[in-house]
Amino acid sequence: MIKLLVIAIGRVLRGLGTRMIERVWRLGAGARLFFLTIFYSGESFRRFHLVMREIYFTGVMSLLIIIVSAFFVGMVLALQGYNTLQKYGSSEAIGVLVALSLVRELGPVVTALLFAGRAGTAITAEIGLMKTTEQLSAMEMMAVSPIARVVAPRFWAGVISMPILASLFSMVGILGGYLVAVPLIGVDQGAFWSQMQANVDFRLDIVDGLIKSLVFGVACTMIALFEGFDAPPTAEGVSRATTRTVVISSLTVLGLDFVLTSFMLAV
């Protein structure tokens, strides 16, 4: 009886250990891929049109979803903010509320979440399928490093696109908030902009938001690339890797956001 119990506990512990070792192994493999990507970046910069192509697919093609969702997020923020602020008789502060929440938090975070869904999945599926159809092996046979040819351009495209998309998100969101607050609700437009300018600091708010989006860009793109590179070469493997990209990217973005915010507010 006791022997059976010991064996059962041992099995559970062994399963836990296997999973832990696998996680750490994946983390190590991801870090290795990251450093290899940095190492091979020079080659991809020398053929910059590869990066341009990827910026087109990850950045330009994400414009529509980013702009439309930013517009609605800004409008909703203004409506909700007005509803609460007018109870305290300070509905002019609505510009500050919309601008600060967009520039500091929602711009970088929502952009990163949308980016993971729109571009991250595409990257994972593409690279996973390249691996499944042995295109990556074929490149290696021709002495072309798949990291230099496939991974590094996508990585830099993601890192370049993300801050651009995030600042567009913030600006369009603020315009959406303006449209609701000023013509629709009737907040004074001078108070809207001047209170915003008095309370949004360039260094502490806008630049910190950009730093956040840059970090999220590195994290999201790297996760998508690694999942694609690591996917089992089957249809099921690629589909699982794509799902994992979205889940892990979203959780990483939200966790990193907490860490970055606590550092930025502590200074």
Binding site: R53, M171, Q197
Partner: protein, 184 residues
């Protein structure tokens, strides 16, 4: 897709991003309005700085002319030493008054500079001698109450002793009655 088309679209994309960032910096942020040039530093001692914070604005005639650099406590004189940076374009007389004001009813606190008449101007490292502390609400209320109380005392200088006299009369009368009760 054609390489030139891709280049065009990426160019549009980057231009949009730069425009958004410029818009954020100029229209949303304070990059244009609160830009201080080179500054000089002066200090001022206050008995109470209230909730003044570093980086709070220093205003003169309502215009931002500088920022609070640091606030430290002087353990010998038990005062707060506030270091402020003032834009070098603005020269203030040596006998300038530094007051701590509050913007609005619940707003942030800032330092207001009121220029004096001295011909010498403040230089880097100088100390502003004339200061006025932040107003603490509790202190103000207690001052108000004290002054109100002393006013009423002064106004009713005559009647109060009379009424107390009456009161004491009644009391003594009551007492005598009480004392006298058992006797009856």
């Amino acid at each position: 897709m054609d390489r030139t088309t891709i280049d065009l679209w990426v160019g549009v994309f980057v231009a949009l991003g730069v425009a958004a960032l410029l818009g954020l910096a100029m229209k949303v942020g304070n990059l244009t309005s609160a830009n201080l040039g080179p500054t000089y530093s002066v200090s001022a001692a206050f008995e109470n700085v209230g909730s003044l914070k570093p980086n709070a604005p220093v205003k003169s005639a309502g215009v931002v002319v500088g920022r609070v650099d640091s606030i430290n406590f002087d353990g010998l004189k038990f005062e707060a030493i506030v270091k402020i940076n003032i834009d070098q374009r603005y020269k203030f007389p040596k006998d300038t008054f530094a007051n701590i004001y509050t913007a609005g009813l619940l707003g942030e606190q800032y330092i207001g500079l009121e220029a004096g008449g001295d011909e010498d101007t403040l230089k880097n490292g100088d100390r502003i001698a004339k200061t006025q502390d932040a107003i603490v609400l509790e202190k103000m209320i207690s001052q108000f109450l004290f002054s109100k109380a002393s006013e009423t005392k002064a106004d009713n200088a005559e009647p109060i002793p009379a009424s107390t006299a009456k009161l004491s009369d009644k009391k003594t009368a009551g007492k005598t009655l009480e004392l006298g009760d058992p006797g009856f």
